[in-house]
């Protein structure tokens, strides 16, 4: 297991109980800095719930989640975010009434206090750098458009841009390629490969072709627990994983 | 002992009136999620209907009850079709819109009928005093108690024993899925809204002989009814009854010991604290998340 004394992101026997239903049941996960980890598994395996617990949307009922030594269990969402954790949600969550530019301004969150932001106008960031981000995701012509008028695909890209503007150390992605064309999926894969190293990424995905393209280490979840962990080849060969999820075809193309 | 019983009766009397008003509000809120600030005006319109039927058609209160229900229910149905159905996904805006409708209703009454106090005669048959467990109570108040109970049972029956009720409960749980099963949610909503309005109208009619009828009379009722709904939660009808009784008794009790003003203030503060710490009300079943 890599990582320093305290590890980078460590989930230690984490479980969560919803009125008797254990969505996550004794999950152990250890992600090293700069790693690109894919989290796969059948529906209901607890993948999204695991991400929820890391970013603070849900609170684990037992176990410890720590990031660079800081215990995240009882921290509020904004405190967790300030530790350097950002998330892209399954359902597009942008600020629909604000323009694309304004969305990016909000996402540029180097300073999160009230006093600090009272004396800042606009984004407080380099106008250039945010425009470059917009260019990266193909939205440079839509800066004044209220985000609610963007197409579904454009909204997804805006979400990526927001995450990049936030620039967190740990990025949690929940089904980033949902609804994307093959071309867009390729673009996303390139983006992820560029991000890893400087950022740590955890990607929940169903698109196996995409996983194969970007994945180094894969964690497979099933019924709230970790079923298997390893490289793409190892996972493909694993009998239990095939039985629970992949089927006899293995990880074939998209 | 006498004092306690007398207190209980007063509280119960307050509670039954409150229940009548709150029942309609709870059903509307529970079914459609609409916070109907015009509910007080439904009460007011019921009272004015009673007065109008009495003044222009010479009908007594008891005979007019069914007609009054129909009149106010029709009004509620119209409101739902014209205004409310645009706002189902905007809860804050329904508060504002319904309150605007309330203002329109009040002003319309003022401009047509006039703002002076009007009076509705108490039915002769019920105007005597009756002795209950040694306490003197007005027969009419007992009548209200019975009507409230009967309406509650009727509502319960409609909700849980008829096909309309099943459709309503399905729509309450999940509107889209209910539509997939062929349930016309639009119709269910408008009929529910009309029913809730009709109940409020009956409440207004029944209360009219006790107090005078004026355009503003509805406002106090809507605030009180709200407290009942917030306290009782919208998951259960029983909750509505229980909280009507609680709030009715508490108000009477506190008014007895200090004064009306402080009583109201304490009840309001209690509700504020409740909203903060248990927004689903006292009687709601545990939801999944």
């Amino acid at each position: 297991m890599s990582g320093g004394e305290n590890g980078h992101l460590v989930l230690d026997n984490v479980a969560i109980d919803f009125n008797g239903f254990r969505a996550v049941d004794g999950l152990n996960l250890n992600v090293a800095r700069g790693e690109l980890r894919c989290l796969i598994g059948p529906n209901g395996a607890g993948k999204t719930t695991a991400l929820d617990m890391i970013c603070g949307k849900a609170k684990p009922t037992s176990g410890v989640i720590s990031f660079e030594g800081a215990v995240l269990n009882n921290m509020e969402e904004h405190a967790i975010a300030r530790c350097g954790i950002g998330r892209k949600f399954q359902v597009p969550s942008v600020f629909r009434e604000l323009t694309v530019q304004e969305n990016l301004d909000v996402a540029y969150c180097r300073h999160t206090s009230i006093l600090g932001n009272l004396v800042r106008f606009g984004s407080g960031a380099d106008l250039d750098s945010l425009e470059k981000l917009a260019e990266l995701v193909g939205l440079e012509d839509y800066l004044e458009m209220p985000a609610g008028y963007l197409s579904h695909g454009q909204t997804q890209w805006l979400e990526f841009a927001l995450l990049l503007a936030q620039d967190p150390e740990l990025i949690l992605m929940d089904e980033p390629t949902a609804g994307m064309t093959a071309q867009e999926t390729k673009k996303t894969a390139d983006l992820f490969l560029r991000l890893k190293g400087r950022h740590t990424l955890i990607v929940v995905e169903h698109d196996m072709g995409f996983v194969k393209e970007i994945g180094e280490k894969i964690s497979v979840m099933h019924q709230g627990k970790l079923l298997a962990e390893g490289s793409v080849e190892e996972i493909e060969r694993d009998r239990e994983v095939r039985a629970a999820y992949l089927g006899s075809g293995g990880i074939s193309g998209a | 002992m006498d004092v306690v019983l007398s207190q209980l009766m007063t509280g119960l009397s307050l509670a039954s009136i409150l229940l009548l008003v709150a029942l309609g509000l709870a059903i509307i809120y529970g079914a459609t999620g609409v916070i109907n600030l015009a509910h007080g005006e439904f009460v007011m319109l019921g009272a004015y209907s009673a007065w109008a039927l009495q003044t222009f058609l010479g009908l007594g209160l008891i005979e007019s009850l069914v007609a009054i229900f129909a009149i106010v229910a029709a009004f509620g149905w119209v409101i739902e079709r014209i205004v409310i159905r645009h706002l189902y996904h905007r809860p804050l805006d329904t508060i504002l819109a319904t309150w605007g409708i309330g203002i329109i209703a009040q002003q319309a009454i003022r401009l047509t009928v006039g703002g002076e106090l009007r009076y509705v005669e108490m039915p002769k048959a019920l105007s005597s005093s009756v002795s209950v467990l040694g306490v003197e109570t007005s027969a009419f108040r007992i009548f209200i108690l019975f009507v409230a109970a009967a309406l509650f049972i009727l509502t319960w029956y409609l909700m849980f024993r008829t096909s309309l009720g099943i459709k309503l409960r399905a729509v309450m749980q999940n509107r889209e899925v209910a539509s997939c099963f062929g349930i016309n949610s639009d119709r269910v909503y408008s009929m529910t809204f009309a029913y809730g309005a009709g109940l409020a109208g009956l409440a207004g009619a029944l209360v009219s002989p006790l107090k005078s009828v004026s355009p503003e009379m509805g406002t106090t009722y809507v605030v009180d009814a709200f407290m009942v709904v917030v306290l009782g939660g919208v998951e259960s009808l029983i909750g509505t009854v229980a909280s009507s009784v609680i709030i009715g008794e508490m108000t009477g009790f506190l008014a007895f010991f200090s004064n009306d003003t402080i009583a109201k203030a304490v009840v309001l503060l209690a509700v504020v604290v409740l909203i903060r710490f248990r927004p689903q009300g006292l009687f709601a079943t545990k939801l999944r998340s």
């Binding site: 604000l98 458009m145 209220p146 | 004064n259």
Partner: protein, 377 residues
Amino acid sequence: MTNRTLRQVVVYAAVCLAILLVPTFVDDPFILNKYSRYLALGILAIALSLSWGYTGILNLGQATSFGLGSYCMAMMLKLRTVPVHTGSEGLPDFMVWNNVETLPWFWFPFHSLTAGLFLGIAIPVVFSMLLGWFIFRGRVTGVYVAIITLAVLVVVNLLIIDQQRYTGGFNGITDLAQLEIFGLTFDAYGSSSYYLIAGALTVCLFLALAITKSKVGLILQAIRDHEARVRYFGYDVAYFKIFALSVSAGIAGVGGMLYTIVMEFASPTFLGVSLSLGVVIWVAVGGRQSLLGAALGAIVVTGMQGALSESETFLDTWSLIMGFAFVLVVLFMPKGLAGAVEALYARVFGKGEKAKSIARKAEGGLAKPASEPGGAE
């Protein structure tokens, strides 16, 4: 500064200038007094626009801060009146009539002018901070916030009415001295009061505008749009909301203090449900997301009510019309008249896609149901 901001500043300045120039054309002290009242209510509207229009907090109890401010001013001015009204030993007359022996502790600070002025802002602000802490730390949102703020307003109202020995009860605090600062006397019917209020309106307007244009203003709007998502960027939403509520309270408090000067009394109606719900209507119709729109909404509507107050029928008809206008605005024009004006301007004078975007933004209507990001609804 963007073009749009520049345009806004120019329009705001022009309107304020026009307001400040009114006394040069209008001489009648009674009319000036009426106008002053409308302006004070305009300040109240600015407060609500900040908390509701920008931050999405439907504060049905905005009048609480307004009323608290007005009572502070009244208490201070009451203690300065001629002994005839303060009875023996410097006690306000209503206390003497109620057989109160000594001045209650909370009246003492109001002997001092500076303290009185300070408290007129500080008390509403601290009250709102505590209320905000209670509400927002508890993650209460939407409808429940509205209910709580209204309930709190009613409680404060009831308490003030109940404690009539110390607060003047139903009748409020009347027979006040005139405010004197730096040798200037502010006569309720003079142009001095008018200028004072118009000046305060200008200051509040630009202060609020500056806040909305800062990054804080942007974050508040993001909170209004999608509160939960804002947290995941690292912003403490509760603090920002408390901030918005408190600043609104301060502005409303200023409005309340000025209102007392111009009405020459303070009464529980300044903390009343009618006023508090009324300002919501004025702001909705004028345009909740425009500070100037909100202020003008208040000024014009109360102005019309004032003009029509001669005839009861006219007044009732006006209220009926307002009721309709309100419902229409809520249904079809969420950004009120100001939003409609801005959309029109963009369509007529703007060019191309950018203008269309601006027009769409100005019209609003993108509000979606509040839900947690991730779609677990």
